[in-house]
């Protein structure tokens, strides 16, 4: 993840270019498939529209949260609660907000990027993303299909896996940084 403010504009342009290229490829895929299977392409477009309608409230929430983060959370505060100095509290906080956050995973990427730029640990970003697998409102459905014992055991292992994943990702990051410095 990049946090260097100097090349922020360059990075933004690069991201925009990459984003439009990706969108272009998907649109071309739609156009090609349209010639073979127009009915299913209409259905896919309708399904995409439904997804957009579903995620709109979460998108608004994420933008509001990003604004609030910019206004209230200064790098010093983010660093204190989610940075290197946050310790075990930081891990617990990332697990909790990961579990409590709603909507699809991808709408949270921009907010996490902002938080990371303000000092959030890379490992905690990974922990947040992994714990989005545990959704409290959906647990009754999971219990209905798999039983309460299964759900409790799975949740415990998933939380453990999220922390191990966060630690490994930070170790990989440190190794890369050290290698770059050596070079």
């Amino acid at each position: 993840m990049k946090s260097d403010k100097k090349d922020k504009t360059g990075q933004r342009n690069k991201n925009l270019y990459y984003g439009f290229s990706f969108l272009g490829v998907v649109i071309i895929l739609y156009i090609v498939l349209f010639f073979f299977d127009s009915e299913n392409i209409y259905l896919s477009l309708y399904a995409s529209l439904q997804i957009i309608i579903q995620i709109l409230p979460v998108l608004v929430l994420v933008i509001l949260l990003m604004g609030a983060v910019n206004y209230f959370l200064k790098p010093r505060i983010v660093s204190k609660h989610l940075g290197k100095e946050s310790g075990i509290k930081g891990w617990l906080l990332a697990i909790s907000i990961g579990i409590l956050s709603h909507g699809p995973i991808y709408v949270w990427y921009p907010l996490l990027k902002d938080l990371h730029n303000q000092g959030m640990r890379t490992g905690l970003v990974a922990v947040f993303l992994y714990n989005r697998a545990i959704k409290i409102p959906l647990l009754p459905v999971m219990i209905f299909y798999f039983g309460i014992g299964f759900v409790i055991i799975l949740m415990i292992y998933m939380i453990i896996a999220s922390v191990v994943e966060g630690i490994i990702i930070e170790a990989v990051e440190h190794k890369t940084v050290a290698r770059r410095k050596d070079a």
Binding site: L23, I63, M66, P110, I168
Partner: protein, 150 residues
């Protein structure tokens, strides 16, 4: 007078914070739109029947298949529970179904371009590769522990 000045600065800071948020989010809009369009295709073309037809009955192979199918699938986790429940009824092992529902949310092949573009390529690749391995390990640990207690 001084209070008024502070209030104005405060308002400007709030406006600047939200304008920064909008700009920051705006950069991600094309890629998020691409992901949503891919999800639309996925929803129509990859049906639960197609998913259940892929499993073979071999425990090891099915667990790996569960993780792979869960990784390339996307959507609301509820869908993965429903498909997982149906797969269990059809005789697919709990190892495979657990790997499938664990990978469904933690690994995102469809979202990977968005994750790589916004959070960095190295981070996205490492995180998804690790989550894939963990979906198998979590499945093994969960089912073995469950069988130990029941």
């Amino acid at each position: 007078m001084a209070d008024k000045k502070i209030n104005m600065t405060n308002k400007e800071t709030i406006a600047a914070s939200f304008s920064k948020a909008l700009k920051s989010f705006g950069v991600s809009v094309p890629i998020l739109l691409g992901v949503v369009l891919l999800l639309g295709l996925f929803k129509i073309y990859i049906t639960p029947e197609l998913i259940s037809s892929i499993f073979t009955g071999n425990l090891f192979r099915d667990t790996l298949l569960g993780s792979i199918i869960g990784s390339v699938s996307a959507g609301n986790p509820i869908t993965s529970y429903i498909i997982g429940g149906e797969l269990l009824k059809e005789g697919v092992s709990l190892f495979a179904v657990t790997a499938f529902i664990a990978a469904w949310v933690t690994v995102g092949v469809i979202q990977l371009p968005a994750e790589a573009s916004i959070l960095g390529k190295r981070f996205a690749l490492t995180r998804n590769a690790l989550s894939f391995i963990f979906s198998i390990l979590v499945a093994l640990a969960t089912v073995v522990t469950l069988r130990f207690f029941t």
